[in-house]
Symmetry: C2
Subunit: 333 residues, 2 copies
């Protein structure tokens, strides 16, 4: 019998979550029954969308349950298998994150062919955040020749890939992130005009300065003043992929919407929200394109890594204070 430390939701946060909203527990991990596999997690993901699952509200993903282990993407190694097609040492992707080890039915796991990538890349650039970037930019915003692209949260796991896909396709990219380290990262990945929003008192002015000709595509990870600025800077027939609005996730009141939404009418703009899980059909095409871009040296990625399951809440909270460049990960073994 193996044992595992796991993180449970202790209380539902109001506003910004605190460490006390989580609790650490130790559980036994059973041996795998018929059709089951036992896995030791090597990496787990923390993602902004998890904040929504901490609320007791109906959404596209069910709420985390109080007193129960949280969930999320994880990559691990099979330690025992009682299922056809899975062998000890296989690397598997699951949604059984926030824990060190688990036993689960084999059909809930996905065996990874690493294609030369490190396993944790399948939680980031080659995983859900990567497919999110690809889907939002190409399918939702329908990037086309000549588009000028604005990306908020541009130094994050999703945003940094959006920037690089747009650059790989030859576009001018304006990216917003907070602080000089992130701006350096944006320059490193080829962003033409980085905006340090923390150094700007008026984001609309900053965007109009960096994109005097306007923008055609906005990839929104932030909402709030970023969305308002993008609406003002948008050129006619601009397309906005609304991926997330991290500025609002911890609001205790309903956040004010953009005051210039009326511009959507006169400029024939399209704003479209999306959840990547409805676009899994794009994954093979995404992986093929990604492999090519990586081989051509067009895609770089960064990770911000915390070590040990006990650090998982801190890693998660860091997402909301700008604590990560690139993908935020927790290394578990």
């Amino acid at each position: 019998m193996t044992s595992s430390t796991e993180i449970r939701l202790k209380s539902r946060p109001r506003g910004m979550p605190a460490p006390g909203d989580f609790e650490v527990a130790r559980v036994d991990v059973p041996d795998p029954g018929p059709g089951e596999v036992q896995v030791r997690n090597d990496w787990m993901s923390v993602d902004p969308y998890m904040r929504g699952r901490m609320n007791d509200a109906r959404s596209y993903a069910a709420p985390f349950q109080l007193g129960e282990v949280m969930q999320g993407g994880a990559v691990g190694t099979v330690t025992a298998s009682n299922a056809e097609g899975f062998a000890e040492g296989d690397i598997v992707l699951s949604f059984n994150g926030w824990r060190e080890a688990f036993t689960a039915p084999a059909q809930t796991l996905r065996k990874l062919d690493l294609h030369g990538l490190p396993p944790q890349a399948f939680l980031g650039v080659a995983g859900m955040p990567g497919l999110t970037a690809y889907t939002g930019l190409l399918r939702i915003a329908k990037l086309k020749d000549g588009d000028i692209v604005f990306v908020s949260g541009a130094a994050g796991a999703v945003g940094s890939l959006v920037c690089q896909i747009a650059k790989a396709k030859g576009h001018t990219v304006i990216g917003s992130a907070g602080g000089p380290d992130k701006i350096d990262f944006l320059r490193d990945i080829g962003v033409d005009r980085p905006i340090d929003y923390k150094a700007e008192s008026d984001l609309t002015k900053a965007l109009l300065r960096e994109a005097p000709e306007g923008i055609d595509v906005y990839f929104d990870n932030v909402g709030g003043d970023h969305l308002e600025a993008a609406l003002t800077a948008a050129r006619p027939f601009g397309r906005f992929a609304l991926c997330g609005m991290i500025s609002a996730y911890n609001s205790t009141e309903m956040p004010a919407g953009p005051r210039n939404l009326i511009t959507v009418v006169g400029k024939n703009l399209r704003l479209e929200g999306f959840i990547v899980s409805f676009h899994q059909d794009l994954e093979p095409q995404f992986h093929a394109d990604l492999a090519r871009w990586v081989s051509e040296g067009k895609i770089k990625w960064r990770e911000t890594v915390k070590e040990g399951i006990e650090q998982a809440p801190e890693a998660f909270l860091g997402l909301f204070s700008g604590g990560n460049i690139g993908k935020m990960l927790v290394k578990l073994s």
Copy 2:
């Protein structure tokens, strides 16, 4: 030499326009030169979008100029022609509204084949408002089988046609308008569940009550609390055609945006603004469909008529105080 009374923009309003922002003037109308036609306007249109043109702001339509005659749709009768293809008595559509008569190059006019409709219908149900309804519902919102449709400004020129097109195609329609007379009109045109927004303290609650199963399509003429309610009531993959936001046109401050815009992400919603002039290619198809629906008795329309050019400002101002059921028109001769 003919003379004409016309309405000029005297001052740019801040907030709600007032009668004093307009001035009445009398001008001579020259005889038509080569290639020109002289027209006596019979009807002119007042439309909410004209409020935007009173501002000195770049938009899809150029601002009205101070001290100059305003512009807009008009239907008139040719009184003298010096252009091939136009003869006295022809009925023509032009953008030379807000005046009793004018002389203009023939290529700026469109000779109307009335198809049995009254001439002023080409300023309403068969004209720009009609094509706006058709475009927004079918091309922008991409109405499809089973969609539940919500329309704001449902008793107006555009909204009342949106409701009836949706009904002609077999959909459940929820329509919002202000006051019992308009609600009677909505029932008359087949709206399944009319909402008198003036009688509701909480529009979101009202919409959720009338559409407990949610909505798939929202045709927005109003913005503000109507848009917020529609976002809350929207079902996944809902589509919003943003046609206008009359609630905001006279705001002196930037109006608050919807506080629940974040729902666009989780519900995979699409919000798309549009200006009908970019969709003129749909007109033949629209006219064919309209003729069929009219012949089948599926489309009714109402007019609110003011008489005489001097009433044009009052007619226009009435648009913002809910003074019209159906198309607001000024009869000029």
